[in-house]
Amino acid sequence: MSQMDFFLSRYREMGWKYIEPAVKQAIRVNIMNVDENALLRRLEEHGFKLQKIPFLKSGYWVAEARFSIGATVEYLLGYYSIQEAAAQIPASIFTDLKNKKVLDACAAPGGKTVQLANLMEGTGVIVALDVRQNRIKALRNQLERCRVSNVIVYQLDARKASKLGVKFDRILLDVPCSGNFAADKEWFSRRTMQDILRNSRIQRDMLAEAARILKDEGEIVYSTCSLEPEENEFNIDWAVKNLNLEVVDVDTYGERANTEIFGKKLSSAIANCRRIWPAETQGFFVCKLKKRRM
């Protein structure tokens, strides 16, 4: 059995039949820097045709473009970010971000950090971590271009975030993952189950560290662009059973996650997670966890 057949058979077992994805390019308006309608008019004048993404507040698909959407003066002015539609979901499902202390645990290249800053309307504090120097450079460029003023950046592994000695109200855990075939044409030949299990262990360590530094009743949003249950449902099932966290239902795009996968019965709360199979968006998994009061 080829790697591709192996993975596709797993997806079939989870109830998804392969269709060729047609992932659309998307942007998100940085509403702190520009009036949304004024920006849309300007982009239309440049010949871009934009289509509102129904499940996002300030997200648009680029339906038609005469040149790169990343080569406009409006982009350079930080009026919008190029951010895939599914990737815009995690930051949008937090409750009440204003004036909060927020950790963006795996922040680079910073698309979601800027989105958080917009949702917070520049209030509160975002602590952004990334482990790699070159990725921090990209993060800093993004913060500068989008004129974000409430972020502090540390070069730090998310598994060591308690080193900061800070308790957070909200934590975004957009963890490093195995990715998916919709975003990488070579994915099937590149990935093995060993990669997935290794990533899963790292992700559990990140979840455990996040639970330690989260305030009571604080929220973690966990997301991956992986389709593999070992990095998604199984990790969240483990977190619910071991980390004093509960899965909160969210009203967003995607289908409810299965509570029985490959013969393994999971907590019924896993149905509150959202799984997005590749189509107009890339593949994605997202859920919101809340820390129970001790």
């Binding site: 350079l76 003023s149 080193k163």
Partner: protein
């Protein structure tokens, strides 16, 4: 406020308006912090970016960030507004020709520094005036010192080629 930063702002006729107690210099880079950020930055002093990045010292000169230029747009006396074609060429790294200037304010004398704005009043960067604007009738009058296209050039030089001067 640090002298070099103050001198830079003075070149544009911008008043020193930044609260000096909230500016932190680190390894030649300057940041403007909110009180909340300052608290965390003092607790964990090994951060690599905090608040609004203002710019850095490069070759003994102050090299501003774009957030700083945007912050001084309202305060700066020296500014020129350019037409669409010149605006696009400027962010492609080109200099400004006299014919492209729609409006000029503040010092228009050779050697002065001036902000370059598009017709929407948005700052695209800054330049040094190389010919008195009231005397020159053609040719390059403002040398490009720093422009928005820098974001693409520093991130991905190949991608920066999409800033094609021939678009106009």
């Amino acid at each position: 406020m640090n002298g070099i930063l103050k001198r830079f702002l003075g070149q544009f006729g911008a008043e020193a308006f930044l609260p000096k107690e909230m500016i932190i210099e680190r390894n030649g880079e300057f940041f403007l912090l909110s009180p909340d950020l300052k608290e965390i930055s003092e607790k964990n002093a090994w951060w690599c970016h905090a608040g609004t990045y203002l710019g850095k010292i490069r070759d003994k000169r102050f090299s501003p960030s774009f957030p700083l230029l945007f912050m001084i747009v309202e305060k700066a006396k020296n500014r020129v507004v350019v037409d669409d074609k010149s605006a696009w060429l400027f962010i492609c790294g080109r200099d400004i020709f006299r014919q492209g200037i729609i409006q000029a304010a503040g010092s228009i004398m050779r050697g002065s520094y001036t902000l370059v704005l598009n017709r929407h009043g948005e700052c695209l960067g800054f330049g040094r005036i190389v010919k008195n604007l009231d005397e020159a009738s053609e040719g390059v009058v403002i040398k490009n010192m720093f422009d928005l296209g820098d974001f693409l050039r520093r991130e991905n030089p190949a991608k920066a080629k999409s800033l094609n001067p021939s678009k106009f």
